[in-house]
């Protein structure tokens, strides 16, 4: 492992549980990994349980919430994932494993595949091609823009603001088309392999028009009391075990793009966005400002990306090695890590840490003592994907 070291003690901030291990900013430890404490649910006179999900109109995916309430206030909450998928990756050659990794969570497919490939490349001790790394950044930043646009569209929809909702969905579609045109697939399937990205980013500057249009909608939403009244002070939480936009909204300067140097983000003059709101509004603000920041990065990348070839054949020769690799990337919702063990080009074992598992704990903690009408805004502000939450890799 070139980027991580095994240790008895954690070093740097704690990221979360990675299989049977605990992942920190700079080290990985064996044994206990304390996660955000589940909130206590008091049983008061007249309180009752209300079930929301697993399949319901307001939920995009299948998850069941058991809410304890006294009528309006949420006294306690539990969540149960319903679509649990077991995906077998161990025992597969690298190329076959990639097909399954792509399908863990399509909206974050680039982040998943790139983190997985980087961990394989770490295990194989491959020399990484700079152009490939730049193209991987372009993929992740396009994915971030699409995800943040979608989360903000969901928030606007929850507030019944139909014009911005549909306008934002139009922008999501525009980003999907830009990805589709560049890579042949709207969710980056079949695009990534070892030391190679099969995309042509010649149309990347279209992102300027998309973000210009977004900026107008964003300014309108920030000034809309109807909208911000639903988000401010809703789901307030400041927890140092948080990741991604949830952490940055609470003032924590956590960002794998900055503190994990596997991808050359430093060459792009990138800035981490933070706010001190700690609530759904803060998470919305961070996402909105990150769209603009990612757009600037993509414009810088346009001049840097060249369509030169990588030493792909040479790479194939070095497939057959034994080793372990661990890499973390900043997915749209926060730190995403893969730890793999390789044996002669076959994936021997794989462990995964997703931002959704960290964010779900935070959401459950932050929703206690809010009211029902606040629930959906708080839930959407975390941008949790149940598909990566319910996946078990074998």
């Amino acid at each position: 492992m070139r980027y991580y070291k095994w240790s008895q003690q954690g070093e740097g901030r704690k990221i979360g549980k990675l299989g049977n291990y605990c992942l920190y900013e700079k080290t990985i430890t064996e044994g206990k990994c304390e996660e955000t404490q589940k909130p206590f649910t008091p049983q008061t006179y007249g309180s009752f349980r209300f079930i929301y999900g697993p399949s319901a109109g307001g939920l995009l995916e299948s998850i069941k919430f058991v809410i304890t309430t006294n009528g309006e206030k949420i006294l306690g909450i539990e969540a149960e994932v319903y679509k649990n998928r077991t995906i077998k990756i161990s025992g597969l050659p690298i190329d076959d494993a990639i097909l399954k990794v792509e399908r863990i969570n399509a909206p974050f497919s680039a982040s998943h595949t790139i983190a997985f490939l980087l961990s394989i490349e770490d295990a194989l001790e491959l020399e990484l091609d700079y152009q490939t790394l730049l193209k991987r950044i372009a993929e992740i930043e396009l994915e971030r823009i699409r995800n943040h646009l979608f989360v903000i569209a969901r928030l606007a929809e929850t507030a019944s603001l139909n014009v911005p909702t549909f306008h934002l969905l139009h922008l999501v579609e525009e980003v999907n088309r830009l990805i589709g045109k560049s890579c042949g697939h709207r969710y980056f399937f079949g695009v990534n392999s070892l030391n190679e990205v099969r995309c042509d980013f010649g149309n990347l500057l279209k992102i300027i028009d998309i973000t210009k249009e977004f900026k107008q909608i964003f300014d309108g939403l920030v000034e809309s009391r109807i909208f911000i009244d639903r988000l401010q002070e809703n789901g307030k939480i400041k927890d140092e075990n948080s990741v991604g936009p949830s952490a940055r909204a609470a003032g924590f300067d956590y960002d794998a793009r900055k503190d994990f140097k596997v991808l050359p983000y430093d060459d792009l003059g990138f800035k981490t966005i933070t706010t001190h709101e700690s609530d759904s509004f803060g998470r919305f603000l961070v996402r909105g400002l990150e769209i603009l920041e990612s757009s600037k990065m993509l414009v810088a990348l346009y001049d840097m990306i060249k369509n030169n070839n990588t030493n792909y054949e040479k790479t194939k020769e070095s497939y057959k090695k034994v080793g372990e690799g661990l890499v973390r990337v900043e997915s749209p919702s926060g730190d995403l890590a893969y730890y793999v063990n390789l044996d002669n080009g076959i994936v021997k074992s794989v462990s995964l840490l997703t931002p959704s598992q960290v964010n779900l704990s935070l959401f459950l903690k932050s929703v206690t003592n809010t009211i029902f009408t606040d629930f959906q805004f708080n839930w959407e502000s975390y941008g949790i994907w149940v598909s990566e939450l319910g996946v078990k890799l074998e």
Partner: protein, 201 residues
């Protein structure tokens, strides 16, 4: 002025498209001949089986997409749904891709409401159960309950390779569907056109 959403909407104008201006090639029909290294056996005797294809590009360059997005099969129609057609989406074990593409039917480009197609929040008001993802253990009961709660006449629509054949992840949905919409995930235009076909005579 900034919050006059209505005026802003008018200013933007109509964005709805009869046919998409841009299609990603790897969500369209596949054609070719020769050997194919297909992980899901979607190419057999040089014939492409759309329901199994996960568009992984392993068959390239012998097989290539031809930009025909009409990769769905209509097995049954229900003219009673001509004026309004209410869909209840259910995620039995998807990767989230089909969910996103289905949601984008609401975007101005596709605007499914112009065809009288709507989402409903309850299976009690649904005409069609639209199922995405592989069959997972806990969702079996949820699927059955949702189907039982729907009034007659009702149809099942399987969305994406996972629901139809299990794709590369697991097991498909063992229910007889009126429409099977291939793709991994299917393009919103493919989904929309397939849905409009259910309402025809």
């Amino acid at each position: 002025m900034k919050n006059w959403w209505f005026i802003r909407g008018l200013r933007k104008g109509i964005m709805t498209e009869k046919y998409p201006k841009e299609l990603p090639e790897w969500s369209t029909e596949i054609q070719g001949q020769g050997n194919a290294n297909c992980p899901t056996n979607a190419i057999k005797d040089e014939k492409w089986i759309k329901e199994k294809c996960i568009f992984c590009r392993r068959c390239y360059p012998n097989y290539k997409p031809n930009l025909n997005p009409r990769i769905y099969t209509v097995k049954k129609t229900q003219p009673l749904f001509k004026k309004s057609f209410y869909l209840y989406p259910i995620d039995s074990g998807s990767c989230g891709g089909c969910n996103m593409e289905l949601k984008l039917l609401s975007s101005p480009e596709y605007d499914m409401t112009r065809f009288g197609i709507f989402f409903t929040n309850t299976p009690r008001h649904a005409d069609a159960l639209i199922i995405m993802g592989v069959l997972t253990e806990k969702m079996k009961e949820v699927l059955r309950k949702a189907y039982d709660a729907m009034p007659e006449p009702k149809v099942i629509i399987l969305l994406g390779a996972c629901a139809i054949s299990g794709g590369i992840i697991g097991e498909g949905i063992p229910l007889e569907a009126a429409i099977e919409i291939a793709g991994c995930p299917p393009n919103p235009f493919t989904i929309l056109e397939a849905l409009t076909r259910v309402k025809e005579k």
